[in-house]
Assembly symmetry: C2
Homo-oligomer: 203 residues x 2
């Protein structure tokens, strides 16, 4: 099992050091409960990034620029992201690309929404059912447009799959998927454009 | 009642035209249920802004610049904002000011949080109890620092009051409060730095 890609044994470290977009940061390691890897169940830990993408201005500036450089060749017309952690990142990438509009799939139905669609999300870090919601205005906006889905971390792919389903329902063309990090053994390197990799720590 | 500041009669309009930071935008008008104004209960409508602050890159760029110009004189060291609508704005204002870190008070307790404090929010647009949560890392960061609270719209002040309470508990110094718009009759012009005003529509 420890030979699996992006799976390492947890030895009680408090933090994990990463260098991305030329910046070194320490990510606190936190327990997330049990996960399934190759049919085995393990107590698992992840290097958590919330403090960075939700507040570190230098970091958001740098990764926005590098992600924009990665996705530019695919000529996206709109960036789509899930609420809430990657909102500043989606704005930053859009701004770097000169894109006028990004779209945030909300986590709940809001008062301002008339018609909407919602899709269930399977996530390793969120307990209970979670949904992503797109209102009819956003659906109309992405329809027949080239879309790049952007998130901070892709691990099992649950969130990004839900966004792809929302884009399919909306008749959008997903030209690329991009993240700062891919995490754990579940995602293929080729599936999501990324700046770095994060391990899942198991015990 | 119709002489109250920022309270107008609703005549069935679908949208409200605003010009802010040199940009003209049409805000859809949506019903929000009943509100209390001067001890009277009214069916109320607001000009809703979600599409702008959650996706309009030109708009976020422009209002971030203008809000930064308004708050600069107060020399904030950190920008604090509630999840989720104003996250891109908080990033934009921080970036314009050359501030390295903004802080997002979350709407729920997250797996990554060790210790945290939470404060109840009274909001006219959200049904049921809502809380804002700050973890011990963020509390330590804002402690003894000069903080500017930034949100997109301030109406009754429920959210901004909750943020001020979180700052008080954290020993932060709130040097200013700023928003794109103040809305309705509840907030004094002097209390919150702002770029524009929005009416509450009543019927």
């Amino acid at each position: 099992m420890l030979n699996s890609k992006r799976v390492v044994k947890y030895n009680g470290e408090a933090a994990y050091s990463v260098t991305v977009a030329g910046l070194r940061r320490l990510l606190p390691i936190i327990e997330i409960g049990e996960v399934t890897i190759s049919n085995g169940r393990f107590k698992a830990y992840i290097a958590s990034d919330s403090e960075l993408v939700l507040g570190d201005v230098e970091f958001i500036n740098a990764v926005s620029r590098e992600l924009a450089n990665l996705v530019r060749i695919h000529k996206p017309e709109v960036i789509v992201t899930p609420e809430a952690k990657a909102i500043a990142l989606a704005y930053g990438v859009s701004r770097e690309l000169g894109i006028g509009r990004f779209v945030v799939a909300r986590k709940s139905v809001k008062a301002y929404m008339g018609k909407y669609v919602h899709v269930k999300v399977n996530s390793i870090t969120t307990k209970g059912d979670q949904f992503l919601v797109l209102d009819s205005y956003a659906m109309g906006y992405v329809s027949n447009r080239n879309v790049c889905i952007v998130d901070d971390v892709v691990s099992t792919g649950g969130t990004i799959n839900a966004l792809e389903e929302l884009m399919r329902i909306s008749n959008a063309h997903v030209v690329c998927k991009a993240a700062i990090w891919i995490e754990g053994p579940w995602i293929n390197d080729e599936e999501v454009l990324h700046l770095g990799e994060l391990p899942i720590f198991i015990a």
